[in-house]
């Protein structure tokens, strides 16, 4: 009964993945015939090759491979900076409250509800004024800003749950704000950092809008190529290539999920549970 329910529910969750994988292994004639749930009669890897190395974006026909390293280059600094800032925020909010800190936090939480796109113009103006428009630094900054609300919430909850005695003892020993952060808090915070990394990698890797506005064609992230492959309005839709491209783009976050699943739950347990 228990397992039966779980299996049925699993079907619902696995169905789209199954369809994507199966479709990406079929040739176009087979797709046109038919049933999306049937396994491929003739397995072909060609859609994968095409999606990775041959699909055209405008006049460049080198597929997703073009954007992969660009995405990595955007991802790494963005993840590091956003997590560094948010963890310090959370730490300050949990352990070093000052007048108004809760107000700023409330504003941040409300900020989590603002659709990104409506902030596009103000952001463009801010970045223009500080001279970061069109630079990688600008993009990193934007990811840091929009990652801040939820991450700060998680870090704040996590640090608040660390036993107070540790903190007090360190204070008595004369450790200051940064001393406690680096020597006591950080070493204890692996699980919540894992959660933060997972959330940020997913969000930043899947981001299309900011990636395309704050970069140039040479540094477009992978999602731009994915968009171009999937959203071409005219011509025949090559569903198999679309699906392969989709899976390839989703691979990085997917792998991270599969690898770190257990730590993720532990981290969430610490960051989300104790309000």
């Amino acid at each position: 009964m228990l397992y039966g329910t779980l299996l049925v529910v699993s079907l619902y969750y696995l169905l789209p993945l199954y369809v994507m994988v199966v479709t990406s292994l079929k040739g176009m004639p087979e797709i046109r015939l038919g049933n999306i749930f049937s396994p491929p009669v003739e397995v072909t890897l060609e859609p994968w090759v095409k999606a990775w190395a041959e699909a055209c974006t405008g006049i460049n026909c080198d597929g997703l491979s073009r954007g992969f390293w660009n995405s990595v280059q955007i991802l790494i600094p963005s993840v590091i900076l956003s997590i560094a800032v948010a963890s310090v925020n959370g730490y300050a909010l949990a352990n070093w409250k000052f007048r108004g800190s809760e107000l700023f936090f409330t504003i941040l939480i409300i900020g989590a509800f603002i659709p990104y796109q409506t902030m596009l113009y103000p952001l463009v103006i801010i970045l223009r004024e500080i001279g970061l428009m069109g630079k990688l630094g600008g993009l990193v900054l934007v990811h840091t800003v929009f990652g801040m609300p939820i991450l700060t919430l998680l870090f704040r909850n996590y640090f608040a749950a660390i036993p107070e005695e540790l903190f007090k003892a360190a204070r008595i020993d004369g450790a200051g704000f940064w001393g406690i952060y680096f020597r006591i808090m950080l070493p204890m915070s692996l699980p919540i950092f894992v959660v933060a990394i997972i959330l940020q990698v997913t969000g930043i890797w899947n981001d299309f809008l900011f990636g395309v506005i704050y970069t140039k064609p040479d540094t477009y992230p992978m999602t731009v190529q994915l968009n171009n492959i999937v959203n071409s309005v005219q011509g025949i839709k090559e569903y198999n290539v679309n699906m392969a491209a989709t899976l390839l783009t989703g691979l990085v976050p997917l792998i991270i999920y599969f690898v770190s699943g257990k730590l993720f739950v532990r981290g969430i347990a610490a960051g989300a549970v104790k309000g």
């Binding site: 103006i125 428009m133 959203n231 309005v233």
Partner: protein, 409 residues
Amino acid sequence: MKAIRKTLIATSTLCAATSVAAADLEVTHWWTSGGEAAAVSELAKAFDDTEHNWVDGAIAGSGGTARPIIISRILGGDPMGATQLNHGRQAEELIEAGLLTDLTELAEQEGWRDIVNPPSLLDACTYEGRIYCAPVNIHSAQWLWLSHSAYEQAGLDVPANWAEFVTAAPKLEEAGIVPLAMGQQGWQQNLAFGTLQIAIAGVDAWRKVLVDKDAEVAAGPEYAKVFQAAADARELARSSNVQDWNLATNMVITGKAGGQIMGDWAQGEFQIAGQVAGTDYTCLPGLGVNEILDTGGDAFYFPVIEDDDIKAAQLELASLIVSPKVQVAFNLKKGSLPVRGDIDLSTANDCMQKGLQILAKGNVLPSGDMNLSADTQTQIEDLMAEFWTSDMSAADAQERYASIVASAD
């Protein structure tokens, strides 16, 4: 903002191409499908043959996805070297803000006024007497595409105009064929409506409504007929449940639908499917009633950039776009019509030839992009999207349409 604008204006005065150093020019566009990309690469090739270098900035998903990106980049002071935009009223404010390069000098030098046909194309690029864009092609929307195999299956002759099409519809339905294929998206439904407008209300009424924004005509008896026709067409398209326009075209190609109202870009789909105009499908410009086409299309704009090499490259590209060689190569690949009447397109297919003839006769109208602001167009599209998928009565739709026209700018 103001300070920046000032400096931009101060420096936007055309610097003559004094330097010939090679420059990388980033070009943003949303031509990403097979035929489109082939057309762009013709342009890119021609540009790379000069001393400059084309950096491709393709963003798929038509203007809806690309436009926020383009505008943000220009507004943020970090613009691309050149960008596609539908010519028309979209760029007015960017021009006012001094963010786009004035091409007037180049245009006069090369005599664009004399070669660009119809002249309305260049008018759409003109703002207060100055020219700001280079038109690259003409697309027209008023075509009815008919499937020969669908009519054969139903034992009917292929209709020659809209009235015959409507009369033949019940027989098609009996044979299990959807009379009218229609993608369920506002712009497609609006395109069909616009085409019915010209065919049924006639050019005079159309001009009064779309050019003069006369709400009384829009609420009047000529337009009542248009809305009735649209309501009839809606019934014919009832069992068409696709979203994308090319999937709707595919229904016509495979004989699952009798016809589709769609722009001339649909013939690219027929070509790819290996169909021949006249034997496998028929195209009726102006629904076979009023053989008049609108002349929308694409154009390139050149944001102001503080760099003499890039400026030179921008002018070079503008000049290339209008040149006969690029016009032929580009438009044959894209399936669109060239912006100049003085070139040879004898290799074009039947439907393109029909279009060329209409163009040569001067039976043209300015496109919606030129007449209406994007805001008004969106409102009409929303209305059409609602109308075509609900049971809204023709009278109600007309009333709402008239009120949009009344407040149009």
